[in-house]
Every structure is written in structure tokens, then in C-alpha cells.
Symmetry: C2
Subunit: 125 residues, 2 copies
């Protein structure tokens, strides 16, 4: 598919798809006329990138962790340099911290909403 379809299917501006490519997060084949050509798998990949960006990870980090995500059973040992492994472990820990922070605060919001919804409405304000 071309960039317009990928943009539509991932609800992502074309501008950002080109930006992600510039940052090395995705690579596009080129049609004879120079247009970008994407495999269906890029839909999930782009959604994953957007999810991670939305969760606070910068493209620089996403680029490092993406290679190990979809092929955990088929390891490229080129990626398994000690520095890379240390970075992965560090990012895993940061993600755990984010998860607990988000969980804690989300649960507090839920509790708040729960209480409010159980409280009878006041007509006087």
C-alpha cells in the first residue's frame, strides 16, 4: 500500500510516517516512480510506534527496542551487544515504573468516578 492508505489505516498524518522513517523506525520500499510502498504488517508496526510514543518513549529508544519485540525467538546477535542489553533492561525497568504510576493514578480516578456516580445529584448545585 502507499503512504495515504497506511496513513488512513493507522490514523496517522503522512508527515509523521515520513518522520518515523527519517528516525529509522520504519523503512519503506519504493515503487518505480519513487512512491513509498508498505507491507500490511506496517499497520501494526505504526500503531505500536504510536502507542509507545504516546506512553512517553522517544523515537531514539523505540528504535532500539523495536527489533527485539517482534522476533524474541529469532534473535539477531548483532543486536545483542552488551550495551544494547543494558539499555533494554533499563528501559524495561522504566516501563515498569510507568506502568505502576499509570495504574496507581488510573485506579484513583476510577475510585473517584465510582464515588461520584454513586452520589445522588444535587438540584441546588
Amino acid at each position: 500500500m502507499r503512504i495515504g492508505e497506511l496513513a488512513a489505516r493507522t490514523d496517522t498524518p503522512r508527515r509523521l510516517l515520513r518522520y518515523y522513517e527519517e528516525q529509522g523506525l520504519i523503512v519503506a520500499n519504493r515503487l518505480p516512480n519513487g512512491y513509498r510502498d508498505y507491507d500490511d504488517a506496517y499497520v501494526d508496526r505504526v500503531l505500536q510506534i504510536r502507542g509507545l510514543l504516546d506512553a512517553g518513549l522517544p523515537t531514539r529508544i523505540i528504535k532500539q527496542i523495536l527489533p527485539c519485540l517482534n522476533k524474541p525467538r529469532q534473535i539477531h546477535f548483532d543486536d545483542a551487544l552488551p550495551e544494547t542489553l543494558a539499555l533494554l533492561a533499563s528501559e524495561r525497568d522504566k516501563m515498569t515504573a510507568r506502568i505502576s504510576c499509570l495504574t496507581r493514578n488510573r485506579d484513583a480516578i476510577s475510585e473517584y468516578l465510582e464515588i461520584v456516580s454513586r452520589t445522588p445529584a444535587s438540584t441546588t448545585g
Copy 2:
């Protein structure tokens, strides 16, 4: 405590503490000489703000959800406007989405690291 101590105890640049105040996330008392004066409770509050920022929430949203986090049992009905409740519910859902995205990817990283760590090192590279 003054801003320097709060900065040290939260590992946060003073600049950012002033920025959070400018954004309405925290409010500082003032000493007679104009210096900011913080209660001990601000340590946790600032850490919470930083955690949420790191998890992708903008200050504008943090400002909206903070009031309901630490007093879920003592509701200010001023805060409980229908629009506010809708925003809270929406943000709660976004946080749930972030949590599942982070969990999924973190677990993939863990699995990758697990496999790598079980693989005997090669001496030839």
C-alpha cells in the same frame, strides 16, 4: 522548605518547579522575603507530576486529574462538573490503553532478555 530543598528531594530542576507552578500544578506559599515555601507533602506531589509527565500526560491534563487523586473520599463538587467527569473517564481509558501497550512491550523485552541470557556466549562473535 524552600525551592532548593524541594528540587534536591525530588531531583527536579528549580526551573521546572516554577514551570509547574506557572501551569497551575502546584501552588507555593511565599515567605516574607518573597521566597517560595513548600510543605513536605509537595515532595510526593512533584514526584507524582513527574511520573505522569514521563508517562506521556501533558500538564494541562495533569492539572485536571490531580484534584481528584488525593482526595477521592472527600469530593469537591465544584470539580465534579459533567465535562470534568467526561474528561476524567476519557483519560482513565487512555491510561488503560497506555498501560496495556507498555505491559505488552515490556513483557516482550523481558522475554527477549530472558532468551538471550539463557543462550551461551559465543567466543567468535
